[in-house]
C-alpha cells in the first residue's frame, strides 16, 4: 500500500521526464531545421566572403541557442498547463532540494558552450577581420593583393576615393567582383558608421581616424550602404546602393568617372588616410 507521501514524489519524477523528452525532441528537430535552412534566411547575405562567414556564424549561434529556447518553451508551456491552481485552498508546495548532479551538468554544459563560442568567434574574427573595422593598425590582415578604397563620411552622404586610380572621388561605390578590397573609413565631421549591409562590412567613421576593414567581393551584385551611427538631421536618409561588377565593367566605370570628374581633379586634396578640411569660415 502506497503512503500518501510517495505519490507526489513519483509525479515529480514524471514531470521531469516529460519535459526532458519533449524538450529534447523539439530541440533536435528545430536545431536540424536551423542548421539546414539558416544559410538561406539569416543576414547579412552572400555579397562577400565575409558576409558568407557571418551567415555561418549566425547559423552556429542560432543552432546553439535553439535547444535553450526549445527547452525553455516546453518547460514554460508545461508548467502553465500542469501546475495551474484549480480550486481548493492554496498550500505550500514540496520543498526544493539541492541536487549536485544538476549543478555539475549545468556548469559543464554552459561552460562548454561559452568557451566554444569564444573560441569559434575568435577564430572567425582572426581569419580576415570578418568585415569589421579594425582601426588604423589591423590585426587580421588577409594575404594577397587588395584594392584600396577610401570611404569618406560627411553630413549626410558617403563619398568614395580610389587612390590607385589617380585619387578619383565619386559619390558612387562600385567594386570589382571576386576582389579583395581594403576599405579605409574616415569622416570629415561627426561620427558616422559605414555599413555595407550585404557585404557584411561595418566600420565606424571617425574624423581624423583611418579605420580599416577588409572584404572580398563575390560575384556581381548590388548592396545597400547605410549610416549606422546617429549623426544628425538626415541620418535616416544617409543611404544609397553600391554595386559589385565584373572586372571589365569596373574598369570602364572608373574611366567614365575619371572623365566626369576631370574638371574637379585640381581641387581635390592629395590622397590621405584622413583629412582635416579647411576652410570652415563659419564653423564655430
Amino acid at each position: 500500500m502506497a503512503t500518501p507521501a510517495s505519490k507526489p514524489s513519483a509525479e515529480r519524477a514524471d514531470h521531469g521526464k516529460r519535459v526532458l523528452i519533449v524538450g529534447a525532441a523539439l530541440s533536435v528537430v528545430s536545431t536540424v531545421l536551423v542548421a539546414v535552412l539558416g544559410g538561406r534566411f539569416l543576414p547579412p547575405g552572400n555579397g562577400s566572403v565575409q558576409a558568407t562567414g557571418q551567415v555561418l556564424d549566425n547559423t552556429v549561434m542560432l543552432a546553439i541557442v535553439t535547444p535553450v529556447i526549445a527547452g525553455l518553451t516546453v518547460f514554460f508551456v508545461y508548467v502553465l498547463s500542469q501546475f495551474r491552481h484549480r480550486g481548493g485552498a492554496l498550500v505550500d508546495g514540496p520543498p526544493l532540494r539541492d541536487d549536485s548532479r544538476v549543478r555539475v551538468w549545468w556548469l559543464v554544459v554552459t561552460s562548454t558552450t561559452v568557451l566554444f563560442l569564444a573560441g569559434f568567434g575568435t577564430y572567425e574574427l582572426l581569419q580576415n577581420g570578418s568585415g569589421g573595422g579594425q582601426g588604423p593598425n589591423p590585426i587580421a590582415v588577409p594575404a594577397g593583393p587588395k584594392l584600396p578604397v577610401q570611404v569618406i563620411a560627411q553630413q549626410w552622404q558617403f563619398t568614395y576615393r580610389y587612390p590607385t586610380y589617380g585619387g578619383l572621388e565619386t559619390p558612387q561605390l562600385v567594386l570589382p567582383a571576386n576582389t579583395y578590397v581594403e576599405l579605409h573609413v574616415t569622416s570629415l565631421d561627426a561620427i558616422h558608421s559605414f555599413w555595407a549591409v550585404e557585404l557584411g562590412v561595418k566600420a565606424d567613421a571617425n574624423p581624423g581616424v583611418d579605420n580599416i576593414a577588409f572584404v572580398k567581393t563575390n560575384g556581381p551584385s548590388t548592396f545597400h550602404v547605410r549610416c549606422a551611427e546617429l549623426c544628425g538631421l538626415w541620418h535616416g536618409y544617409m543611404f544609397n546602393n553600391g554595386r559589385v561588377v565584373p572586372e571589365a565593367q569596373f574598369t570602364a566605370w572608373v574611366k567614365s568617372q575619371q572623365r566626369d570628374f576631370a574638371p574637379l581633379l585640381k581641387y581635390l586634396p592629395k590622397y590621405s588616410t584622413s583629412y582635416f578640411p579647411d576652410p570652415q569660415r563659419r564653423a564655430g
Partner: protein, 227 residues
C-alpha cells in the same frame, strides 16, 4: 469600487493630456512655414510637364520669415505672384523637367569636401553662373550647395565677394542687391519623397558649421515631394 473609478478617470485624463500634446505638436509641424509644402505650378510643353522653380539663398532669413531665428541662413522659394516664401518642401510633378533659377545673396563659406564643387546630376553636368556655362567652381568660393543625393544632383553656388558693395541684410533680398544667378535643369523621376540639403558648413557659430539651420528643416534642408 470607488478606487477603481478614480484609477480609470486618472488614466483617461492622462491619455487625453497626451493626445492633446501630440495633437499640438502635429499641428505645429504641419502649419510651420518651414515644413508646409509649396506646390510649384506646372506647365505642359508638347505633352511633357515642365516646371520653373525660383529660389534664393540668403545669409540671414530675417524677422519677417523667422522671428525666432532671424539670423539663420536660409533658402526661400518664389511663388507665382513673385512673393518669397520660407518653404523648403517643394511639391513637383513626377517625370518632369525642372528649370531652376537660384539667386544667391550670401558670401562664400567654403566646402569641406571639394567633390561638391563639381555640378552633377543636371543636364550637361554644368550650370550657368551669371550667364556663363560652368563645370566646376573653386571649392573655397562656394557659398552653398543645392543637392538631392537620391538624384545624384549637386549644384555648387558661388558666393558674392566679401567686398560686395550692396550685400543683402535680411530676406527677402531684392535683385538690385549683390547676388549671383545660377540656372540649371534637372529631371524628376518616379514619385517619392526626396530630401535635399546644403553641403557647405554654413551655419555661422555652430560646431562644424552644421548646427542650427543645417539641422532644422525649413532653412538649409527640405524635401522634393514628387507626386
Amino acid at each position: 469600487m470607488r478606487a477603481t473609478g478614480f484609477k480609470v478617470l486618472g488614466v483617461a485624463i492622462g491619455l487625453a493630456a497626451a493626445g492633446l500634446l501630440i495633437g499640438l505638436y502635429v499641428s505645429k509641424l504641419t502649419t510651420d512655414n518651414g515644413s508646409a509644402a509649396y506646390t510649384v505650378p506646372v506647365q505642359t510643353q508638347g505633352g511633357h510637364k515642365v516646371v520653373d522653380l525660383s529660389i534664393e539663398t540668403v545669409a540671414a532669413v530675417g524677422p519677417q520669415f523667422s522671428p525666432a531665428h532671424p539670423d539663420y541662413v536660409s533658402y526661400l522659394v518664389r511663388d507665382t505672384q513673385g512673393k518669397w516664401l520660407r518653404r523648403t518642401v517643394w511639391r513637383l510633378p513626377a517625370n518632369a523637367t525642372v528649370h531652376v533659377t537660384i539667386y544667391n545673396f550670401d558670401s562664400a563659406s567654403g566646402l569641406r569636401n571639394p567633390l561638391y564643387a563639381r555640378p552633377q546630376g543636371v543636364d550637361g553636368n554644368s550650370f550657368m553662373l551669371d550667364g556663363k556655362r560652368t563645370v566646376v567652381i573653386d571649392p573655397n568660393d562656394t557659398s552653398h550647395t543645392f543637392a538631392v543625393p537620391a538624384y545624384g544632383l549637386v549644384i555648387p553656388l558661388s558666393g558674392i565677394p566679401d567686398s560686395a558693395k550692396h550685400p543683402c541684410g535680411y530676406a527677402p533680398c531684392a535683385l538690385s542687391l549683390d547676388h549671383r544667378t545660377i540656372t540649371f535643369t534637372f529631371h524628376t523621376g518616379k514619385a517619392g519623397h526626396y530630401r535635399w540639403q546644403c553641403f557647405v558648413p554654413c551655419a555661422a557659430g555652430w560646431i562644424d558649421g552644421f548646427g542650427g539651420p543645417m539641422q532644422t528643416i525649413g532653412y538649409m534642408d527640405g524635401f522634393l515631394d514628387v507626386i
